[in-house]
Amino acid sequence: MEWIFLLDKTIIAFIAFSITLLIATYSTYAERKIAAFLQDRVGPDRAGPFGMFQPLADAGKFFFKEEIIPATSNKFLFIIGPGIAMTTALMTSVVIPWGGTLEIGDRLVSLQVSDLNIGVLYVFGVVSLGVYGIMIGGWASNNKFSLLGAIRASSQMISYELGMGLSLISLIMLTGTLSMSEIVEQQHGFWADGYFSWYFFKQPIGFLIFIVCAFAECNRTPFDLAECEAELVGGYHTEYSSMKLGFYMFAEYINMFISSAFMASLYFGGYNFPFMDDLGLSQNWITIIGVIVFFLKIFAFIFFFMWIRWTIPRFRYDQLMRLGWQVMMPAALLHIFATGAVILFNQH
């Protein structure tokens, strides 16, 4: 029994890992195509049908490019920076419940690599490690533009983590658990006890704060000050070339994918979909449809990320800080109090 459990988990971990990489790869393609769509252009269309092989060509190009390490850089940190960014980005996918349970023979297989009872906390811990990759990379380059980018990135990520964490506290006050799979299970179906079961409908303001902070955490426009090409050339990765640059870009897309998955799980019911109990399908079918639905939700969020990126400009550094500390933080705190008041009111 023990070995088969390990085998299950290995397979799921492997699949989750490859899917994360695959989606991150194809997010670059999607980004270009969506940008082209929004900007009235064609976008990549040379490599393969509709340019489908563009990401592969890009990856190949990254590998074959000359690797330049600046002579004045701290070589060890310079090399380790992108590694940290990539590793932390990949680590978060462990606790995401990709689907319900599958019945294989007489065993129940959960489509989650590890059901940590502190799943949400774990994600936070790993995400806050992610800033080290950017900070170390920017500092080790020994370039003033990189340094400015790294400073911006680290202060931005630390500031917005507060708002993000506080907005989640009010969610956890409702769920009563930090386990991702339990939070998703609580949102079973779409309608329960005379109200929507998805947490988005219970905490729309909390979700709003969360998604703004998620944009900031992923360094996406309007919060992409860390790499704003207009001022800082390339920001923290100005000096990077070859696959190290690829790692930073990959890490960004993986982060985007993971935060989409996180938002879909926490606020939009994860793999749950409306009328899932009324279809009269077997457990396995519901799980399979659930996985598809979950990915559709993720893709919708990724599209939203890209839509925003190609629509609005970016903040200035002081405006960003003001928004983080003077709007997001107090709003999240007030939201905690309001949630507490509502919970108390319902109890009595």
Binding site: K144, T221, A230, T311, I312, P313, R314, Y317, D318
Partner: protein
């Protein structure tokens, strides 16, 4: 050890914090050309800056002294390359002024149409690049299509797109072709709607407005003492426009407004340019619908090439053709200043002729050269991001700065 910046200014503040010296340029993605700025930064705030002028000096004025008059036109192309037709036509008018040639009304109106198209293209580039520098690339790709339409029209008329070398001394090399007319009519019909879309995309965006309001301001007094002109001066609240103050090329025939701002900040410069695009459209509409009949060139045999047919059949035309092509036309001696309202300010040509075949001395009054001197003052105490926005909104073009 105390380091000193290359400009001798001390590098350390009173509370012993070191300032960061940042080289913004000469190769930086948002300087739009080769500019060098040595900034002293306190974190993100610019304490002082030292712009370098003359980084890509190309000695245009000196080059012009060794060329026959008609060959100076391609040099003017490379001043403000976003609106070369204005530079070309301005030069043509300067030479005509020296020759005292009267141009037919039709030539004036055609020139007005071309110059206003160039102004639209230039202002569009400036404002959409302002968007790009703040991170909004989408408006740029939308409006670039409109600029392409304008360039298609140049191409229809003179065969070139960017460095147009459009027109001749004395008029135009050919009349408006049917293709040009068709493209112009399509442009006039479709552009306002698409421009409004672009306008809404930026002006109704809170982030963009926050980024440009109160950024890089300059007072009207300071602007005048720097001898600013054009949209940047009008943004500071001075209603000076060469087209109105000293009309050339029949600008007095047209009814248009001169938009002015109040604060002289990036927002005002942006808004003035947006309104000027609308005014330019009005002018083009008036000029095109009232386009007079007549010749598309003046009676100016010294510079206007005779028809090829005449060159083959008449002695006089053959002689003129030879003299023009070989640059053997003697000019009257004189001293001329002619100014046109260039897309980003008063573009002046100060020409001294000693009666020879080449200009004795030629000086271009390049508006960017003047703006860039005020740049250090305008960005002092602002943030790095503001410096970028200020530079974009002033539309400083390297080709014009270092002629």
């Amino acid at each position: 050890m105390q380091e000193q910046s290359i400009f001798g200014e001390e590098h350390v503040m009173q509370d012993e914090r070191q300032l960061n010296t940042l080289n913004l340029g000469p190769t930086h993605p948002s300087t739009h050309g080769v500019f060098q700025n040595v900034l002293q930064m306190d974190g993100e705030i610019i304490v002082s800056s030292e712009p370098t002028i003359g980084y890509i000096h190309r000695a245009f004025e000196k080059l012009a002294e060794r060329r026959p008059y008609y060959q100076v036109t391609p040099i003017t192309d490379r001043l403000n390359y976003c609106s070369s037709p204005i530079n070309n036509i301005g030069w043509h008018m300067t030479v005509e002024k020296l020759l005292q040639v009267e141009t037919p009304k039709r030539v004036d109106y055609m020139r007005v149409i071309i110059m206003e198209l160039a102004r639209i293209a230039d202002h569009l580039v400036c404002n959409m690049v302002l968007g790009v520098d703040s991170g909004a690339l989408t408006g740029f790709t939308y409006m670039f299509q409109e600029r392409e339409r304008i360039y298609d029209m140049y191409e229809e008329l003179c065969g070139a797109r960017l460095t147009t070398n459009i027109g001749r001394i004395g008029g135009f090399e050919r009349d408006f072709t049917p293709g040009f007319r068709k493209k112009l009519e399509e442009f006039l019909a479709g552009f306002p709607k698409r421009f409004d879309e672009f306008d809404r995309l930026l002006t109704r965006n809170r982030i963009f407005m926050d980024r440009i309001k109160g950024v890089g301001p300059i007072s009207a007094e300071r602007a005048i003492s720097y001898s600013f002109a054009g949209p940047n001066l009008r943004a500071a609240g001075v209603d000076y426009d060469v087209r109105v103050m000293n009309p050339y090329s029949s600008y007095q025939d047209f009814d248009f407004m001169v938009p002015i701002g109040t604060a002289g900040d990036t927002f005002d410069r942006f808004a003035v340019r947006q309104s000027e695009i609308r005014e330019s459209l009005k002018i083009i509409n008036q000029a095109y619908s009232n386009l007079p009949e007549g010749n598309f060139f003046a009676d100016c045999p010294e510079f206007y090439l005779p028809k090829k047919q005449d060159v083959y059949n008449s002695m006089e035309a053959l002689i003129w053709h030879f003299k023009i092509v070989m640059g053997e036309v003697d000019m009257p001696a004189g001293e001329i200043y002619h100014a046109v309202e260039g897309a980003n300010g008063e573009l002046g040509y100060y020409l001294i002729s000693d009666g020879g075949r080449q200009p004795y001395r030629l000086h271009f009054r390049r508006p960017c050269f003047i703006y860039y001197q005020a740049y250090a003052e305008m960005i002092k105490g602002q943030m790095l991001s503001d410096a970028i926005m200020t530079m974009s909104s002033m539309n400083v073009i390297a080709g014009e700065l270092d002629a």
